[in-house]
């Protein structure tokens, strides 16, 4: 890691999150149709998922190959999660939840490859997914239950005097959901990767370099864990929100 004349670090820990156009000049403006590094790594995630699910399970073997085992394990894992948390009637939304889970976990893991780009570290990416879940769940709630969906905010198990206050709190917490849902994923991914870069920056100081390199290895291991757990948490919260929409009565 080189330093410039003033002795300051040449890279900033947050530099890895800069969205750059892949083609053309460095300073070109980024429009919604511009192909950037985010586009590239999202496409790679989609490609990897397609490869796993289409090519990996092509054999349909009784004794599965390794790729087929992974695909089957992921499918069974999410299927069981939806069944346990939402219930039988939530299974028709399983494809959506499975898509979310696979996209997030692949984007997280691809972001761990050195020199790659973590698409899920951008709130713009995770907010789209979180708001999609929020609107889907709200619309499903109103379509399935009609005005009865509003009983989600009316905690009938609480004393009557407390219910209006609880209703206000419940409404606020309902509308905060997409915010916490998106920032949890983006914040975890961004903070972990920034910590990796900070430790990498310490590695240029001779005396602490061995400790810093050990630190990078340890944090990297933690990040592998966090990538999987955050994908799991995002998915299971989607299931919980869906359960609230299907069964709003407390």
């Amino acid at each position: 890691m080189a330093t410039d004349e003033s002795g300051k670090l040449e890279f900033h820990p947050m530099d890895q999150f800069i969205v750059k156009p892949l083609f053309g000049e460095a300073g070109d403006p980024v429009h919604f149709y511009t192909i950037t590094n985010v586009t590239l790594w999202m496409a790679l995630a989609i490609g990897a998922i397609t490869l796993l699910l289409v090519v990996g399970t092509r054999g349909r073997a009784i004794i599965p190959t390794r790729a087929q085992s992974i695909a089957e394990l992921a499918y069974g894992f999410v299927y069981k999660m939806v069944e346990d948390v939402v219930g039988k009637d939530g299974l028709k939304y399983f494809p959506y939840i499975f898509t979310l889970f696979l996209f997030i976990i692949f984007a997280n893991f691809l972001g761990l490859i050195p020199m790659s780009f973590t698409t899920t570290s951008h709130i713009a990416v995770t907010a789209i997914m979180a708001f999609a879940v929020f609107f889907t769940v709200t619309i499903i709630g109103f379509v399935k239950n009609g005005a009865g969906f509003l009983s989600l905010f009316w905690v009938s198990s609480a004393p009557l005097a407390l219910r209006p206050i609880l209703a206000i709190i419940e409404v606020i917490s309902y509308f905060v959901r997409p915010v916490s849902h998106s920032i949890r994923l983006a914040g975890n991914m961004m903070a972990g990767h920034a910590v990796l870069k900070v430790f990498a920056g310490f590695a240029q100081v001779g005396a602490v370099a061995p400790i810093a390199i050990l630190g990078v290895v340890a944090i990297y291991g933690l990040e592998v864990l966090v990538s999987a757990i955050q994908a799991y948490v995002f998915t299971i919260l989607t299931c919980v929100y869906l359960k609230d929409a299907l069964h709003p009565h407390h």
Binding site: D84, R184, G187, I236, L237, V240
Partner: protein, 78 residues
């Protein structure tokens, strides 16, 4: 020392907001610790409650994330 008083306030505020992350860490530790305490008493029931564990952790963590969000807003958006 350079910069103006507003920037000073921004940085101090962001640092104070980061305390919230530590508070969230206490909350998450509380959830996980109590889960482990319960799981060791009745290990056979523990496997069925891991989903509840992660939901509890996620909700405890959400408030730490709001603190983190405030810090980010102070650093980059104000």
């Amino acid at each position: 020392m350079e910069g103006d008083i507003a920037q000073l306030g921004q940085f101090i505020g962001a640092g104070l907001a980061a305390i919230g992350s530590g508070a969230a860490a206490i909350g998450v530790g509380h959830v996980a610790g109590n889960f482990l305490a319960g799981a060791l008493r009745n290990p056979s029931a523990a496997a069925g409650q891991t989903a509840t564990l992660f939901i509890g952790i996620a909700f405890a963590e959400a408030l730490g994330i709001f603190a983190f969000l405030v810090a980010l807003l102070l650093m980059f958006a104000v």
